[in-house]
C-alpha cells in the first residue's frame, strides 16, 4: 500500500507535465485560427483573401515543432528528476525501519539475560516478561529474514543478511536455554515458596525450643537432655541458613542441600529422643514443637523434591548470561551493517551490473537538473524572438489602417454638413467594414429624418387642435369655478340656517318639556278632583240615606200623630157624650158638664195640634223626598262630573304622552339638525377645498394651454431644424 502511494504522485506528475506543452501550443493555434476565421468571414462579405496572414502562419509552424520537441525534453528531464528523488526517499525510509527494528535486538539481548536471572531466583513476574522478550526476538528475526509488509520491513540482503544468519545461530542456543527456564518454572517457584515457609516457621520453632528448654530447666531435668534441647536451637538456625543459601542457587547450593538434609534428620532424631525422656509437661510443649517441625520437614521435602529441575534452570540462566554478550555484539554489528548501506532492490534491477548503483543515485539528480535548466533557457529565447517579429508586423498593419481611416473620413466629411446622400467606398482594408456600416447608418438616418419631418408636421397639427381644446377647457374651468363659488356661498348660508334651526329645536325641546310638565300637573289635579268628586258622591249618598231615615222617622211621627188624632177624636166624642150625660143629669150634672166641656176643648185643641203636626210632618216628608231626589240628582251630576274629570284626566295623560313624544321628536330633530349642520359645515369646507382644487385645476389648464403653445413652437422649430437635412 505504501509503495503504491509512493508511486502515485509520479504518475500524476507525468500526466500533468505531458499535457501542458500541448495546451500551450494549442493556444497559439487557436489564436491563429481566430484571425483566420475573422478574415474568412470578412472574405465571405468582401471576397478578398488575406495573403500576409497565410505567410506568417507557415513561418510559425516550423518554429513550433522545435519548441514542441524542446518542451518534451524538458518534461522528460523534470519527470526523471522527480522519480529519482522519490525512489531515494523510499530507500532511506526502508533503511530506517530496518535499523530501528534491529536496534531493538540490542536491548532485548540484555533484557533476556536479566529476566532469566530473575526467573531462576523464583520471581513469578519475570516469566511473562521472559516469554514476551523471546517472542519479540523471534518476530524481529523473522521480519528481517523474510520481510513484513505490516510494519513495512523489507528482507535483508547482502552482507547484512550474513550477519543476520550469525545472530540467528546464537539466538537458537539462547532460545533453547530460555525454553529450559520456562519449562522448569513450576519447580523453581515451588522451591521459592518452600524457602519462604521455612523462613516463617524457623522463628516459631526457635521460640518453642526455648520454651522446652526453660520448662526442662524448671523441672530440673537431666543436664544432658537440656544440652540436647539447646542444640536444637542451633540446628534450627543452620537449617534456615542452608535453605536460604540453596535458594540463591550459587555455587554452594549443592553443599547447602546436603547440609540442611542432614541437619533436619538430626533434629528429628533429637525430638524423638527427648520425647521418650522428658516429663509430661515438657512433653506437651514438645508436642506443639513437634507439629511445627512436621511442617518444616514437609517444606524441606518440597525443596528437595525440585532440586534437579532447579539446578538445570540455574545452569540455563548462567548460559544465557554468557551468550547474551555474544548476541549483543552480533546485533551491534548487524545494525551498523544495515545503516551503512542497503541498496534499493527496486532500482538495482534497472542499473547495469557493472555500474555502481550508489554512484548512479548520487549523480543522476544533478545531471537531470542541469539538463532542465538548459532546455528552459532555449525555450525562453525562442519565445522572445517571436514577440519581436510580431511587434514589427503590427506596426505595418497600423500604418495601412491609418491611411484607410483618413480616406473614410474624407468621404464622411459631407455628412457633417447634413448631406445624407453620401455613400462611402467599401474596400478590403480594415475600414471596409466601417464604411459599410457607415453607409448603413446613413441610410437609417435618412429614413429617420424623413420620419421626424412627418412626425413634426403631425405634432404641429395636433398641437394647434390641442391648444383650442385647452382654451375651451380653461373657459369651462372658469365657469365651473364661478359655479362652485356660488354653491359654496349657498352651502355656507345653509349651514348657518341649519345651526339656527338646531338652536330653535333646542328651545322647542324646552317648551315641549314644560308643556309635558304642565300636562302632568293637570293630570294629577284631575286625579285629585276625581278623588274629591268620589268623596263628595259618597258623602251625598250618606246624607241621602240619613235624610231618607229622617223621612221614615217623620212617617213614624205621622203614625203617632194620627194615633194622637184618633185619641183626640175619641176624647172629643167622649167629652160630648159626657156633656150630654151631664145635661141629662140636670142640675146634678152641672159641674160635670163644665168638666166635660173643658175635656172637649182640650180634645179639640189636641186634635188641632195633631193636625198641625200632621201637616208639618207631611211638609217634612215632602221636603225630605225633594231633598232625596235632588240629592240623587246631585249624585248623578257628581258621577257625570267624575266621568268628565276622568275623561279630562285621560286626555291630559294623552297630552302628557304626546308632549313626551313631541319632546323626543323635537330632541331627535335637534340632534339630526345638529348633525346636518355639522355635515353642512363639512360640505362647506369640502366645497372650499373643491374650489381651491378647481382653481388649481384652472391654473393647471392654463399652464397646459401655455405648454401646448410652447410645444407647438418647439414642433415648428423641430420642423425647421430637420428641413436643414438633405435627404
Amino acid at each position: 500500500m505504501a509503495t503504491t502511494s509512493q508511486y502515485k504522485p509520479l504518475e500524476d506528475l507525468d500526466g500533468a507535465s505531458g499535457n501542458e506543452p500541448f495546451d500551450d501550443l494549442g493556444d497559439t493555434g487557436d489564436m491563429n485560427m481566430d484571425s483566420e476565421s475573422v478574415s474568412h468571414s470578412h472574405d465571405s462579405e468582401t471576397e478578398r483573401p488575406a495573403v500576409s496572414t497565410i505567410k506568417r502562419r507557415s513561418k510559425r509552424r516550423g518554429g513550433r515543432f522545435i519548441v514542441f520537441l524542446l518542451a518534451l525534453l524538458l518534461v522528460f528531464a523534470v519527470g526523471a528528476l522527480v522519480v529519482n528523488v522519490t525512489l531515494e526517499a523510499r530507500r532511506s525510509a526502508i533503511e530506517a525501519n530496518q535499523v530501528e527494528i534491529s536496534s531493538r535486538l540490542l536491548m532485548l539481548s540484555q533484557r533476556l539475560s536479566r529476566q532469566a536471572r530473575e526467573a531462576t531466583l523464583g520471581d513469578p513476574a519475570a516469566y511473562p516478561g521472559l516469554e514476551d522478550s523471546r517472542d519479540a526476538v523471534n518476530g524481529i528475526l523473522a521480519a528481517l529474514d523474510l520481510g513484513d509488509s505490516e510494519i513495512d520491513i523489507e528482507p535483508l540482503v547482502g552482507e547484512s543478511r550474513l550477519l543476520l544468519q550469525a545472530v540467528s545461530g546464537t539466538w537458537q542456543s539462547v532460545r533453547g536455554n530460555t525454553e529450559t527456564i520456562l519449562g522448569n518454572r513450576d519447580a523453581v517457584l515451588s522451591i521459592r515458596e518452600a524457602r519462604d515457609t521455612v523462613n516463617e516457621l524457623v522463628p516459631l520453632l526457635l521460640a518453642q525450643s526455648d520454651e522446652v528448654v526453660e520448662e526442662m530447666v524448671v523441672e530440673q531435668a537431666d543436664a544432658s537432655l537440656i544440652n540436647l534441647a539447646g542444640r536444637q536451637r542451633t540446628l534450627t538456625q543452620r537449617i534456615r541458613a542452608s535453605v536460604n543459601e540453596f535458594a540463591l542457587g550459587e555455587s554452594g547450593a549443592e553443599v547447602a542441600a546436603t547440609q540442611f538434609g542432614r541437619d533436619l534428620r538430626l533434629y528429628g532424631r533429637t525430638v524423638r529422643l527427648l520425647e521418650s525422656r522428658v516429663s509430661p509437661p515438657v512433653a506437651a510443649k514438645l508436642d506443639s514443637l513437634k507439629a511445627t517441625y512436621q511442617e518444616l520437614s514437609s517444606a524441606i521435602e518440597q525443596v528437595l523434591g525440585g532440586v534437579a529441575e532447579f539446578f538445570s534452570a540455574q545452569v540455563a540462566a548462567r548460559a544465557i548470561n554468557a551468550e547474551s554478550d555474544v548476541l549483543l555484539e552480533q546485533s551491534q554489528r548487524l545494525v551498523r551493517s544495515i545503516s551503512d548501506s542497503t541498496p534499493l532492490p527496486l532500482v538495482e534491477e534497472y542499473v547495469p551490473a557493472n555500474v555502481d548503483a550508489n554512484l548512479v543515485f548520487k549523480w543522476l539528480p544533478w545531471v537531470l537538473g542541469a539538463l532542465s535548466l538548459l532546455l528552459l533557457y532555449i525555450l525562453i529565447r525562442i519565445f522572445l524572438g517571436r514577440a519581436q517579429t510580431e511587434a514589427r508586423e503590427s506596426t505595418e498593419e497600423n500604418q495601412q489602417s491609418q491611411e484607410a481611416i483618413m480616406k473614410l473620413l474624407d468621404e464622411m466629411s459631407d455628412l457633417a454638413d447634413g448631406d445624407l446622400t453620401i455613400e462611402a467606398e467599401v474596400t478590403d482594408q480594415i475600414t471596409g467594414a466601417i464604411a459599410d456600416s457607415v453607409n448603413f447608418a446613413v441610410e437609417e438616418m435618412r429614413n429617420l429624418v424623413r420620419r421626424i419631418k412627418s412626425a413634426a408636421e403631425a405634432v404641429t397639427m395636433e398641437t394647434s387642435g390641442s391648444r383650442q381644446t385647452a382654451d375651451s377647457l380653461a373657459q369651462s374651468a372658469d365657469q365651473q369655478l364661478q359655479a362652485i363659488n356660488t354653491a359654496t356661498r349657498e352651502i355656507q348660508l345653509m349651514a348657518q340656517s341649519m345651526q339656527e334651526l338646531s338652536s330653535d329645536a333646542n328651545r322647542f325641546t324646552e317648551v315641549a318639556r314644560s308643556s309635558r310638565d304642565v300636562a302632568k300637573r293637570g293630570a294629577s289635579s284631575v286625579r285629585q278632583t276625581i278623588q274629591g268628586m268620589n268623596d263628595m258622591r259618597q258623602q251625598i249618598q250618606e246624607t241621602a240615606k240619613r235624610i231618607k231615615r229622617l223621612g221614615e222617622s217623620s212617617q213614624q211621627i205621622n203614625d203617632i200623630v194620627s194615633l194622637i188624632t184618633d185619641i183626640a177624636e175619641q176624647t172629643n166624642v167622649l167629652s160630648l157624650n159626657a156633656s150630654i150625660q151631664a145635661a141629662m143629669a140636670g142640675e146634678a150634672g152641672r159641674g160635670f158638664a163644665v168638666v166635660a166641656d173643658e175635656v172637649q176643648r182640650l180634645a179639640d185643641r189636641s186634635g188641632q195640634a195633631s193636625r198641625q203636626i200632621n201637616e208639618l210632618v207631611n211638609t217634612i216628608q215632602r221636603d225630605t223626598n225633594d231633598a232625596v231626589s235632588s240629592m240623587e240628582q246631585a249624585t248623578r251630576e257628581v258621577v257625570e262630573g267624575t266621568n268628565l274629570a276622568d275623561a279630562a284626566g285621560r286626555a291630559l295623560v294623552e297630552i302628557e304622552q304626546e308632549s313626551e313624544q313631541l319632546t323626543n321628536l323635537i330632541q331627535e330633530t335637534a340632534t339630526k339638525t345638529l348633525t346636518h349642520s355639522k355635515t353642512a359645515a363639512d360640505v362647506s369646507n369640502r366645497m372650499t377645498t373643491i374650489r381651491k382644487t378647481t382653481e388649481d385645476a384652472v391654473q393647471g389648464v392654463r399652464r397646459t394651454a401655455q405648454s401646448i403653445s410652447n410645444l407647438d413652437k418647439v414642433a415648428r422649430e423641430l420642423e425647421e431644424s430637420v428641413s436643414g437635412f438633405k435627404v
Binding site: 177624636e569 175619641q570 172629643n572 166624642v573 160630648l576 157624650n577 156633656s579 150630654i580 145635661a583 141629662m584 152641672r590 159641674g591 158638664a593 163644665v594 168638666v595 166641656d597 173643658e598 172637649q600 179639640d604
Partner: protein
C-alpha cells in the same frame, strides 16, 4: 215635673170653680149639639141626644128608602142609621173620619142620625130669639124649630119630635121598588 202637674191641677180646679159659678149665675140657658149635615150647620137640643158614636160598620138594609143607610151594632143594641143629608134631599154622606152617628132619645125607636161631622156643644140663652129658617126648601122646613143667628153663622135648630113623627120618616120601606107590592 211634680210642680208642673200640681200647677196644671190647680188651674183645672180654678177653671171648674169659675164655670160652676157662671152656671149657677146664669140659669136660663139651653144646650145644643152643633152638627153639620148636607153642608148645613145644625144644632140638635142636647135633651134629644142620648149619645155620640163613631161611625163604624153599617149594614145596608134592602128595600128601604135611600136616606136609611142601614143598621149598626152599638154595644149589642141595633140602631137604624138615617142619612140626614139624603133625607133633606142632598147627597149621600161620605163615611169620612169626621162622620159621626148621633143617637136620638126617641123612646124606643132606636134611631140615629149620620152626620158629616160634630162641631161641638153650643150653649144658647133662653132669651136668644129663634128666627125663620132660611136656606132650606119648604118641604123640610117643618123639621126645624127656627134659626139662631150668631152673626157669623146661622144655626138651624132641628125639631127632633117633628122629625120622628113625620109620615115620611115613619115609612122607611120602598114598596115601589118591589113590583106588585103596591097592590
Amino acid at each position: 215635673m211634680v210642680e208642673q202637674r200640681s200647677k196644671a191641677l190647680e188651674q183645672t180646679r180654678r177653671l171648674l170653680e169659675a164655670q160652676h159659678q157662671q152656671a149657677s149665675d146664669d140659669d136660663k140657658v139651653w144646650r145644643a149639639l152643633a152638627i153639620e149635615a148636607r153642608d148645613v150647620p145644625l144644632v140638635i137640643p142636647i135633651n134629644n141626644v142620648v149619645e155620640l158614636a163613631v161611625c163604624e160598620n153599617i149594614t145596608p138594609i134592602p128595600l128601604t128608602q135611600t136616606w136609611i143607610r142601614g143598621l149598626t151594632n152599638l154595644r149589642g143594641q141595633l140602631y137604624t142609621v138615617i142619612d140626614l143629608s139624603v133625607f133633606f134631599g142632598g147627597h149621600e154622606t161620605r163615611l169620612s173620619r169626621d162622620a159621626r152617628i148621633v143617637l136620638l132619645s126617641d123612646d124606643g125607636f132606636n134611631t140615629c142620625l149620620l152626620v158629616n161631622s160634630v162641631l161641638g156643644l153650643k150653649v144658647f140663652g133662653e132669651d136668644q130669639p129663634l128666627g125663620d129658617v132660611a136656606n132650606v126648601s119648604t118641604d123640610i122646613k117643618p123639621f126645624f124649630r127656627g134659626q139662631i143667628d150668631e152673626g157669623e153663622r146661622q144655626w138651624a135648630v132641628l125639631d127632633v119630635d117633628a122629625l120622628i113623627t113625620d109620615k115620611r120618616f115613619l115609612t122607611p120601606g120602598r114598596l115601589e121598588a118591589v113590583p106588585g107590592l103596591e097592590h
